[in-house]
């Protein structure tokens, strides 16, 4: 892929990447991080799966955001990787306006928030999310299903708590 094709391929995804970043980092950092994402994309362009360019970009973006957040953390490099996807947005990041939904979303693990964000906010297909996560469609569906169930459970709990609090 030469430069012209690279630019042509990813031109339409510039704003998607901008939105992805805006949901996860300070707006003042969006352009710098986007530059980093596309620099990596250029270097790794030969491994970009055809037809899944945006998902591939989100995969890179996930690492870039994780690194960015780690840099901001005093305990940066001690952040464990298994249970924490550092790129997952919080309720505040995605500006959830319903308090019950926001609280329920924040109760989810980073892994759950990550997969739901890719589906609901980034509007990716199951297949695309599988590319981002480096797993299979079936596995991705299962992860979404479990995350959705946990979100529903937290939401129900919120409603129940609110109801009880009202009496």
């Amino acid at each position: 892929m030469d430069q012209d094709k690279f630019v042509a391929t990813f031109r339409s995804h510039l704003q998607d990447v901008s939105k992805y970043l805006t949901r996860r980092v300070e707006i003042s950092n969006v352009e710098d991080l986007a530059s980093e994402i596309f620099e990596i994309a250029w270097r790794k362009r030969e491994s970009c799966p055809e037809g899944f360019e945006l998902a591939w970009l989100y995969k890179i973006a996930g690492f870039v955001v994780s690194n960015h957040r780690k840099k901001l953390s005093r305990r940066a490099v001690m952040v464990p990787l298994l249970d924490h996807d550092m790129s997952a947005p919080s309720a505040e990041d995605v500006a959830l306006d319903g308090s019950a939904v926001a609280e329920a979303f924040d109760k989810l693990s980073a892994k759950d928030r990550q997969v739901l964000s890719l589906l609901v906010f980034e509007q990716l297909s199951i297949k695309e999310i599988a590319v981002v996560l480096g797993t299979t469609e079936n596995n991705t569906s299962q992860r979404i299903k479990r995350a959705r169930e946990r979100l529903a459970k937290h939401l129900a709990q919120q409603v129940s708590d609110t109801h009880e609090g009202g009496h």
Binding site: S35, V94, V120
Partner: protein, 235 residues
């Protein structure tokens, strides 16, 4: 959201609750600028100078994270090679294909747990007392080769397959032999520092193509989560 979750009321509620971000408009110049630098060879990143200087004492070094059982004796004919321990404690944050390795020069840093005739094993946390598993996360540091410990932990039954030396041999440590640039998010990773100074993610193409690697890592991840593991030792 065109899938089985399309009309899901719970996810619909989540979608409606989120305000659309006012994302800054990015210029196409950003793409042009990003694609101007052709000095970096495709498929790998160069390590920071500090890391390379530390690595120079032992020339090529391979590094990999594995889940293993220390009690198991590996019968593979591994050869003993020199190893610079400084790599473990002073390497700092190294860029790894868009991600970072952790710096062990902090409390809980990696420590030598086991000396075996085929290599030294390092970890910064022992899970065996926390889990109903005879398992620990180990980091193997070896010269120009990556080794496995020939035993999976409990339920992730096929986890061992992805660390078998034969895959490394098959792939030959070159960029074209590796199918994926990225570390699996939120999961254990396998990293290889090759003799050219590039730090590669180790994902054998034969596993990536059918998604097996992701399945294995997910399997491991799920198993550990179900057992209540809240954090993973990394260095």
């Amino acid at each position: 959201m065109k899938n089985q979750f399309e009309n899901d009321p719970v996810l619909g509620q989540l979608s409606k609750a989120a305000r659309r971000p006012k994302a800054p408009k990015l210029s196409e110049d950003l793409l042009v600028a990003a694609s101007k630098d052709s000095s970096v060879k495709d498929g790998k990143f160069k390590l920071p100078a500090l890391f390379l200087s530390l690595a120079s004492a032992t020339a090529a070094v391979a590094l990999v994270a594995v889940v293993a059982n220390p009690a198991i004796t590996n019968t593979e004919p591994f050869s003993q090679t020199e190893f610079n321990e400084d790599l473990l404690v002073k390497s700092g944050a190294s860029r790894v294909d868009g991600s970072f390795m952790s710096n062990p020069d902090l409390p809980g840093q990696a420590s030598l747990l086991l000396e075996a005739d085929f290599g030294d094993f390092y970890a910064n946390e022992d899970w065996s007392t926390q889990l109903d598993l005879e398992a620990n996360l180990y980091f193997l540091v070896r010269n120009s080769q990556v080794f496995q410990v020939y035993r999976p932990i409990d339920s992730p039954s096929k986890f061992w397959e992805i660390t078998r030396p034969k895959y490394i041999e098959e792939q030959g440590f070159n960029s074209t032999g590796l199918c994926n640039f990225a570390l699996p998010m939120g999961r254990p990773s396998f990293l290889v520092l090759a003799s050219d100074g590039g730090l590669y993610n180790f994902e054998p193409a034969n596993l990536c193509q059918n998604g097996k690697l992701g399945e294995y890592l997910d399997e491991l991840d799920e198993a550990l989560s179900e057992l209540g593991v809240k954090s993973t030792p990394m260095f």
